[in-house]
Symmetry: C2
Subunit: 419 residues, 2 copies
Amino acid sequence: MANQQEEILQLGLRAREASAAMARAGTQEKNHALQHIGQTLLSSQKEILAANLLDLREAEAGGMSPAMMDRLRLTEERLAAMAGAVGKVAALDDPIGQVDSGQTRPNGLIISRYRVPLGVVGMIYESRPNVTVDAAALCLKSGNACILRGGREAIHTNRALAESIRNAIATCGLPRDAVQLVSDTSRESARAMMRLNGYIDVLIPRGGAGLIRTVVENATVPVIQTGVGNCHVYVDDPCDLVMAEKIIVNAKCSRPSVCNAAETLLVHKNIAPEFLPRAARAMAPYHVELRGCPQTAAILGAAVRPADEQDYATEFNDYILAVKVVDSLEEAVCHIRRYGTGHSEAIVTDSYAHSREFVAGVDAAAVYVNASTRFTDGEEFGLGAEIGISTQKLHTRGPMGLRDLTTIQYVILGSGQIR
Amino acid sequence: MANQQEEILQLGLRAREASAAMARAGTQEKNHALQHIGQTLLSSQKEILAANLLDLREAEAGGMSPAMMDRLRLTEERLAAMAGAVGKVAALDDPIGQVDSGQTRPNGLIISRYRVPLGVVGMIYESRPNVTVDAAALCLKSGNACILRGGREAIHTNRALAESIRNAIATCGLPRDAVQLVSDTSRESARAMMRLNGYIDVLIPRGGAGLIRTVVENATVPVIQTGVGNCHVYVDDPCDLVMAEKIIVNAKCSRPSVCNAAETLLVHKNIAPEFLPRAARAMAPYHVELRGCPQTAAILGAAVRPADEQDYATEFNDYILAVKVVDSLEEAVCHIRRYGTGHSEAIVTDSYAHSREFVAGVDAAAVYVNASTRFTDGEEFGLGAEIGISTQKLHTRGPMGLRDLTTIQYVILGSGQIR
């Protein structure tokens, strides 16, 4: 334990040092470094893929599932896509130095609110190695230093990626330690990061519900909670059933493993007899398992397993959908307030009044009227790229882009004012 | 312990319920309630002052210092000022429902960012009873419910204040439980609040460094760290010595107990021989104790106690000033980066280049050029009123007004879009 704490403290000291230089780096310098990172990732392809192969072999020997292996696997194409993503971050507007607002006070003080970097961003994440590259790129562009702690299963890949990123940064004259990878993937290193007050300004966990919970429960540094999405689609009366069918199929089946996928379908009782059979037919090619309330079962028959309390509270991340027939819009809103995780919620309706009531009643980062929940994403929201999706209310909510990696600083210009 | 947890959980449940109604309350409704609170505070003057007298008697019996007794004491004038402050909050713009930004995406989705309430705000604070009224008013206006836990020493006063606020709210048709006071002032009740995830959306501690530290170390709910201010005034070469003298006297002596008062004076070596004696003379009427580096002592002589490491790290909140002669602007910036708490830092200079360098180098919520640090305050910054001063970087920084008690919600209007 003492060793891990010491390693993390050293990373923290170096990150803080690097963050001071990063805060002063100009936009051109940062963009140049990002472009160079993209090139270096491509020119280090051989080493990176070899490292990835090591991880894959260990994963296979350890009995990792094929789906998880796929998340871990890098290919030439995937590496090229990662390098391309870094180039896209270079092309985004630099949030640093933007003036949010300003005023001259009656006493002559000129008070301006500037965007400045957060300082040091800590990330604790699992499996997918692209997070290493995305997080480094977003943190660099926003003038922050970062400390990245990926999972054990991707450690060789992450080391190779981080090494090539650090070399590229240093070549461009920015501090190599602006990006640091925690080489120790023990629980203790994660816990030490969670308590590195004074060195880490914000900690962003990305991964399953267990990881997020551990961080929230143990961190003393400020945390942005991300990603757990128990999302609902409510099919209202009246609505366009064709549209509702397309939306639930998309929200459930287009990529069930992600946080903006739907987990529960709520259907107004008036349209349930007509809608549920057609929704079930439309999802049949995807072999979606339905877990429904008694009314759902009465309509759909033996194909439906009975849903219990736990099903309504679960983010399945799989081809499973909980279903409930509700008596009213109000019941739908109550259900969502009870079981939702504040991520993304959708209503399909033809009623203007109902759309307003749903938006006012549901408390989530993103509330949709007549669209799929799958759009909750930095790219889709026009942020360019995202470092995660906040499901807490502090700092920001929903997809987090470059601006969400900044804070403000008041600069006050005076001429001798005293109070 | 179990009892306290149960009481707090009940408060949390009621607050969450009330917050749903508060989120839907219109501006006029909220303003009407605020005006009524102001009137009720005045009409309940007798009960409130009687309750305050109970607290004062217990405090005196317990040997409380006169300065602390003064913070606790209510008078007709102070109560009238508190009621007046509530009226001022009513007059401020309502942040709720404001649209920060919006766009129509290429796929036709209309995405807007709305300001919505945080939900339930928890406050843990010490002694001064006006926090009870200010926090309740700001939370109500921003559509939040609040759970207030004041100190043991003010419990009778806080109960009387909260009762009169709750009555006024209920009379106006808003939920009485939008404002709740924790009647149990044990440590356990505070700890239970710190872990009330799912019910408290943000916890704001206000008080001494010990309280803030306890909350940061123990809370699992999101926290906004407030208030500890180890603020510096750096007197540069070249500068207007008359201005510098006025600024340090104001920053140190106008109200030493507050967080935006200066604790350390840094002086460039070129001007120290001339400036330090005149600064010492100007502060003499306030009996400021100076704790200086060897160079300071060499200039000022026996009047200066030697300063140690601890002095530079301390927020004295008293008529004590640490002094250090520095060789350069760079040394001043390094000193501030090392000892500062990220609150308010000032440079007095005649050099444009130095002013820019200081602003770029110092990492604090408010950086001043040629003005006193004492201006870091919601009222002075034009926010109307403040609920605290954030010294962390997440969510907001510096004085927190109504807008900082809100978060965002994305509302996405579609016409059947799927991804």
